[in-house]
Symmetry: C2
Subunit: 242 residues, 2 copies
Amino acid sequence: MPSRRVARLPCAIAAKLKAPQTALHSLRSKQKMIIVYHLETSRSERIVWLMEELGLPYQLQVFPRETTGAAPRPLKEIHPLGKAPVIRDGDTMLAESGAIVDYLIHRHGGGRLALSPDDPAYAKYIYWLHFAEGSLMSLLLIALVLSRVKEAAASPVTARIRERMKQMLTFVDIELAGGPWFAGETFTAADVMMVFPFTTLRNFLDYDLAPHASIVAYLARVGARPAYRKAMSLAGPTRSYL
Amino acid sequence: MPSRRVARLPCAIAAKLKAPQTALHSLRSKQKMIIVYHLETSRSERIVWLMEELGLPYQLQVFPRETTGAAPRPLKEIHPLGKAPVIRDGDTMLAESGAIVDYLIHRHGGGRLALSPDDPAYAKYIYWLHFAEGSLMSLLLIALVLSRVKEAAASPVTARIRERMKQMLTFVDIELAGGPWFAGETFTAADVMMVFPFTTLRNFLDYDLAPHASIVAYLARVGARPAYRKAMSLAGPTRSYL
């Protein structure tokens, strides 16, 4: 089990304190432990999950959202774009989910949870790893922004985006039928990247996943993983923004 | 210089025929040459550029856009989502820019244009590689979709997205000042991923890059690369959609 510290931020940002502060934790934190900056109910839950899957020690700093749902201003002090996730590894500050996943796996995880380029399932692995943000989240964000523009409710553009969402999720559902994981037989970082868009759907968008039986079954498999359960207890969604 | 075939599609899709059909080309095409499916004025220009930078042989199939600007239906026969880029490598069909870039570099390019995880610039490399689609294109697509919703013109959401675009491009501009390339001293696949969003800006969005001097200077450096020039002559933007 990885050691983990959940710290209170200096700038009066409340943090969840769920991990015991043992001597071991303190010792490891002096060894320049990786810090994971997590924004409540956001993509950064993936990085907590990844650290738990890899069994790497880390310190968790949680930023609650503002009452409007916006990211809080102090995240801007961590990274110029004020977004999460961000990690700190010694002098390196790194943002962007996909980049952090690649970085942690290949710099600290000995390549675990990645497939090597000569693996027959490499194309599948690398596809879903990039698809998660490059296609799926990208489309969901468009739908989310449109849902915030009251005047766009009756626009044919909105209807087209909803239709594209359904088409994309149907495609994912069909692909997952060959499961159990996105790359096939092996659980990989592609899964760590792919799960969050579905939880976002549930938390931010009014979209029913029930017709996508393979996705629903897949999420049940994910939910049974001890590392996922631990990560969600530390950094899982706390609010619905529907 | 890589060999290259630009093929006419069976389904009556016109293709640009710019490369000579020599015996060498025919021979190589029988050796299961990689096929790059390119949608006119789209992300897939990156993959053509990457193949030229890597000097790998490939066959290019160009799909013109419909008069509405939409991707043509036959792209759906290539990939269920009907998007580009897609490549074919033997029995493997692969979509998603970032995935294709990783796949080609690590499966066929011997890791060239990537930085290894122990390189001091690895974090920068992997950041921009993912940022291109995960953050920048994602935001630009939101702006593009909103620009198509007439009713949203006066919405505060639209204003906020424009503001975020400016903020993000200012951030990129500052980061690039340390150039010459996104990862620093070395030209990498992160550059191949990052350039297209800027050309998109010019072709699809009414946004003036002139205030971002480092980005403008960077694009001039990119434009001087022989592989980029060749790729643009084969697969560069042909129309403006403003």
